[in-house]
């Protein structure tokens, strides 16, 4: 949930820098250790006494397998079952989830009372059926973004999640869980950039998006992303994360979107553009320019916010601030680490930057497992920890106060603190933007985004 982030509205930058806390001191030395909960083992003589929760993954494509590999490192995860309608996917994934039951029918997972949480990583157009059934079966649900390929389906998912107050629903907008982003949010919203005037993001990767298939029937199922009938294309499958991330920092929803796209390079039977551009108009006149292509990898993936005092570039869980020559000195940047990009020098913005890195018995820095430093790791970790906490809170409430006080229970569960994550509302709103942006791209038009489209009634 993002209630804590919402409270950062109106955050005063001077207070952030001036406060007498240890956190502020660390910021002035170049980095701040946040309430950025990690799933790492606690320091000192305590073991990582993580309460485990049985979880299943439904959908074992490329991203489903990435989820399984990441869950293997999340202390709370006990991957009990995996599901895919394609036997080869099950077989390929089995070694990454040793001991997990394999099934082609997701309903067997939903019937298993021991499995408390499911991660839905099926093709987007299949999300609704699985998610609604999972919520009805009383499972905590992590649903990959975009939630659905249509606003109507996304709304059905979001409303069902909203009604399930005793369950955790998390949309797969993993940047919302990422410690670095949560560290940057108050900093940027406090006005550190001056007046924000522009935003830009890109995703460039030379790849066909086509998966080889052993037969024609499987071909269509495997390559659902290449058909307009089943895919929101680059803006929906990839751009939704970056647009949501940027809008989160700008603290607003887009008011209009214009788009263009075409198949520039991968001339096969696809009707989904392999190269797109979009301009999203945010409140306050801030335009976000977005482009994505499957035909070139230069500069990869990043987002930039441009302000009158500084720009901030975010890339691969790292961030740098580039100050204007006439912007006021904050003081701490003198001591902060810096990186040079061609002619520009970026000041590193990083959570925990001033803490000494952990070392092994020989005093050598310990390099973290790369899979534990990704936004997906944070998102899945927060999902399962929220699920553990909410389930425990419900059990403890009922054992302490009786199972008959349902209203009291639901009221209490609404107050249980949650770790940073995108909820049903954020997921729904991101889906609305994705659907309309894709429409704009396919029609080369400007579409006004009505505020009521983003409301859940």
């Amino acid at each position: 949930m993002n209630e804590n982030e919402s409270e950062a509205l109106g955050y005063n930058r001077r207070d952030f820098l001036r406060g007498g806390s240890v956190a502020t001191l660390m910021t002035m030395l170049g980095g701040v250790q946040l309430f950025a909960q990690t799933n790492a083992a606690p320091a000192g003589d305590a073991k990582a006494a993580a309460a485990k929760i049985k979880v299943a993954v439904i959908g074992l494509g490329v991203w489903g397998r990435e989820i399984i590999n990441t869950l293997a490192r999340v202390p709370q995860a006990d991957v009990t079952a995996i599901c895919d309608t394609y036997p080869a996917s099950l077989k390929r994934t089995a070694s990454a989830a040793p001991g997990a039951a394999q099934t082609a029918d997701y309903k067997t997972i939903l019937d298993d009372k021991d499995i408390k949480a499911v991660v839905v990583a099926t093709p987007t157009f299949q999300h609704k059926e699985v998610v609604l059934a999972a919520l009805k079966a009383g499972k905590h649900v992590y649903c990959e973004a975009p939630l659905a390929g249509s606003i109507e389906d996304a709304k059905e998912i979001a409303l069902a999640a909203k009604a399930a107050k005793n369950l955790v629903f998390q949309a797969g907008l993993q940047m919302r869980s990422e410690p670095q982003s949560n560290f940057l949010l108050p900093f940027i919203r406090s006005g550190a950039l001056g007046k924000t005037v522009l935003a830009r993001a890109q995703w460039h990767k030379k790849t066909s998006w086509r998966t080889a298939s052993p037969n024609p029937e499987r071909e269509k199922a495997l390559n659902w992303r290449l058909s307009k009938a089943t895919s929101l294309g680059l803006i929906g499958e990839i751009g939704c994360h970056q647009i949501d991330h940027t809008g989160w920092f700008l603290n607003g929803l887009p008011k209009a979107v214009s788009g263009w796209g075409s198949v520039m390079f991968w001339k096969d039977d696809r009707d989904v553009p392999d190269t797109i551009q979009a301009v999203l108009e945010f409140p306050g006149g801030v335009q976000m320019i977005y482009d994505a292509t499957l035909a070139n990898s230069f500069e990869g993936e990043y987002e930039v916010l441009y302000g009158s005092d500084a720009a901030v570039m975010m890339r691969e869980s790292k961030a740098w601030m580039f100050k204007e020559v006439d912007s006021p000195l904050l003081g701490w940047e003198v001591y902060a680490p810096k990186t040079t990009f061609y002619k520009e020098t970026g000041i590193t913005l990083a959570a925990g930057n001033s803490k000494p890195p952990p070392t092994d018995a020989q005093g050598q820095p310990i390099q973290p497992d790369p899979l534990t430093t990704t936004p997906l790791y944070s998102a899945l970790g927060n999902f399962l920890r929220n699920a553990v906490d909410l389930s425990a809170a419900a059990e403890d409430y009922k054992s302490s106060y009786g199972a008959d006080d349902v209203d009291g229970l639901m009221e209490h569960l609404g107050k249980v603190p949650r770790r940073a994550a995108a909820g049903y509302l954020e997921g729904f709103q991101a889906a609305v933007t994705a659907v309309k942006a894709n429409e704009a791209i396919l029609s080369a038009k400007r579409i006004e985004l009505k505020p009521e489209w983003y409301e859940l009634s």
């Binding site: 000192g44 305590a46 403890d396």
Partner: protein, 233 residues
């Protein structure tokens, strides 16, 4: 004719005795109903405060479960006249150890790693609950105002991390109307008295040493236990 008269007489006697017994039972029932059972209700809170060489700390749980059974001399309504002295009361209370979470001074969550350290030192895996058994309750004096609490001396046993100690403490009982109660109290304890070693986790800057002394502060809400199909007491 004489035998019929005798039979009728016997029947009337049996009926009269039966009615008398029934009347006696009806008179006795109110006395038996004067024992009231009250069950835990939401709105309760258990808070533990402690110290360390770095900073003071606190943790809370929103759950205090259990029940008390009280006799007729226990104050269930505001302003009820109660004679100072021992009152009939017994009770069992429990707190789920895993529901105790560390918090900042403003109530926001503090740190998962501190929670893990705390639970491990309380041997939560084997002892999932803190348990309190009330054995004796004595009213010290009647309250001076109608909305003032009744102050009791409570004797009982407290079990933490599998170790049980006798515990004497002062508790305040505030009737809220309709036999609902708010019971509050504070008591000072030492972790080591429950064979809990004050945690000393290592951190990047050195070691945190937790103080042995802790303070328990509780607010416990109770209401008559709901019995299916029965009228409220």
């Amino acid at each position: 004719m004489g035998q019929t008269n005798n039979t009728n007489m016997k029947k009337r006697t049996i009926i009269a005795k039966t009615v008398a017994l029934l009347l006696l039972a009806m008179v006795s029932l109110p006395a038996a109903a004067q024992t009231t059972t009250l069950a835990a209700r939401s709105g309760s809170k258990m808070r533990i405060e402690g110290t360390s060489n770095i900073h003071d700390w606190q943790c809370e749980s929103p759950f205090i479960g259990g029940m008390i059974e009280v006799g007729p001399n226990f104050p269930l309504e505001p302003g009820q006249a109660v004679t100072p002295g021992k009152v009939e009361a017994k009770g069992d209370v429990f707190i789920q150890v895993r529901s105790l979470k560390s918090i900042e001074k403003d109530g926001k969550p503090y740190m998962d790693s501190m929670d893990n350290v705390m639970w491990e030192h309380m041997r939560e895996t084997e002892n999932k609950r803190i348990l309190y058994h009330l054995t004796e309750l004595t009213l010290k004096e009647a309250p001076k105002a109608k909305d003032a609490p009744y102050v009791f001396d409570a004797q009982g046993e407290l079990a933490v991390a599998g170790v049980t100690n006798k515990l004497s403490m002062v508790v305040n009982v505030l009737p809220l109307g309709e036999k609902k109660l708010k019971i509050t109290g504070t008591t000072n304890l030492k972790m080591t008295s429950f064979k809990i070693q004050p945690p000393a986790p290592k951190i990047a800057m050195g070691m945190i040493k937790t103080g042995d002394d802790i303070k328990l502060i509780f607010e416990w809400m109770l209401a008559p236990r709901k019995t299916p199909g029965a009228a409220a007491n």
